[in-house]
């Protein structure tokens, strides 16, 4: 299902940052350092299992 990565990224940012813009920036930077550029994914982006796996691990910490 396309767009899953974008959806997961948005969930992680909203749950970790809770409307705090500075924190949202930090979380995006952390994703970038994991090799996941949060600005590159759209609702139409194809699913990448390796990236989804990394995001699933992160979501477990929420």
């Amino acid at each position: 299902m396309a767009g899953k990565i974008k959806q997961m990224i948005d969930t992680i940012i909203s749950q970790r940052a809770k409307d705090n813009a500075m924190l949202a920036g930090i979380i995006k930077t952390k994703l970038m350092l994991k090799g996941i550029d949060p600005n590159k994914f759209t609702p139409q982006s194809a699913d990448d299992l390796a990236i989804i796996s990394k995001l699933e691990a992160l979501m477990k910490e929420l």
């Binding site: 350092l33 090799g35 910490e61």
Partner: protein, 366 residues
Amino acid sequence: MNIKTAYSMKTDLHEVVADIKAQLDDFDIKLIVFFASSAFHPAEIAERMEAAFPAVETFGCSTAGEIVTGKMLTKSVVAMAFNSQAIKNCKVDVLEDLNKESFRAFNAFERHFGKTMKEMDPKQYVGIMLVDGLSGKEEMIMDRMGDLTNVIFIGGSAGDDLKFASTYVYANGKSYANAAVLAILEPGVEFSFVKTQSFCELPQKLVVTKANEFKREVLEFNNKPAAVAYAEAVGTSVADAPNHFMHHPVGLVFEGEPFVRSPQQIKGDKMLFYCSVKEGMELSLLESTDIIASTKKALEDARKEPGGISGIVNFNCILRTLELGQKKLAEDYGKLFEAEPTVGFSTYGEQFIGHANQTAAMLILR
């Protein structure tokens, strides 16, 4: 004054510690951070600093050079003391044996502060990390800590004056190798960060198409042998490419902010870096600019923020220190920090959100 610095250039360790103790004698200390030249025996410096300040949390590490208010030094010990108005609460713990991924230290922090790491407000708490600079584990630690907490960790990789033999972190009166000291501080003042790296981004892109991230090796950029692709990007030969490493590292650039990855050496067609690089990352070629001018600007911007600056802890990459030394600008760099109490050291790597190279990462206390 809530923060005070001290330093000693004496060569006898007993005299060094006595000298520092005398400089901090009339100060009501809550916490001491110290950085010591690798000329001093690690177990002894750790033990003697703890013994000299028994009622106080002390932690630190070995260095590739030291920084104290207004000065860049070598073969010294520098220290920053915080009173209880600067630091309301703190807890120091050690991640021993970085080959085992265990964050038992976080349990200690949670017990001490009475809340989970997830609950800790990053505006109220700040983390400092000092890590064995030869461990190669900085990325793993920062990544895992970043998953577990929103508290921002800043820090540096311990050095050993460019011997690359053994580096140490200090806490609890002991020295540790293959370890990291983690400290969570609850400052009584506001705090912020400066991350400055004196580079501009060039248009050349190097996409990591094959890498061994645990060895910090890139095998291919842009589907070509890494060394060939890097040399092409710089506009030189593979043989000449190492001469460009210091002034043309690469960077993971996100929203205009580069996380520098410095090349270390070419091995056949592979390139070894001082920082891990992941497959799929798009890196930009960087070009060095003026360290003094860019650091001066970063500090001026920090000084303009409300509250002023009461103290700076500066984790400054050894590669920056070497470049400053080559250009005879070390004294000028030290003088950038003469206005406020400052302590720091020349590091084998810098940590702020992630691990980086050729960067000065600074904790600013207001």
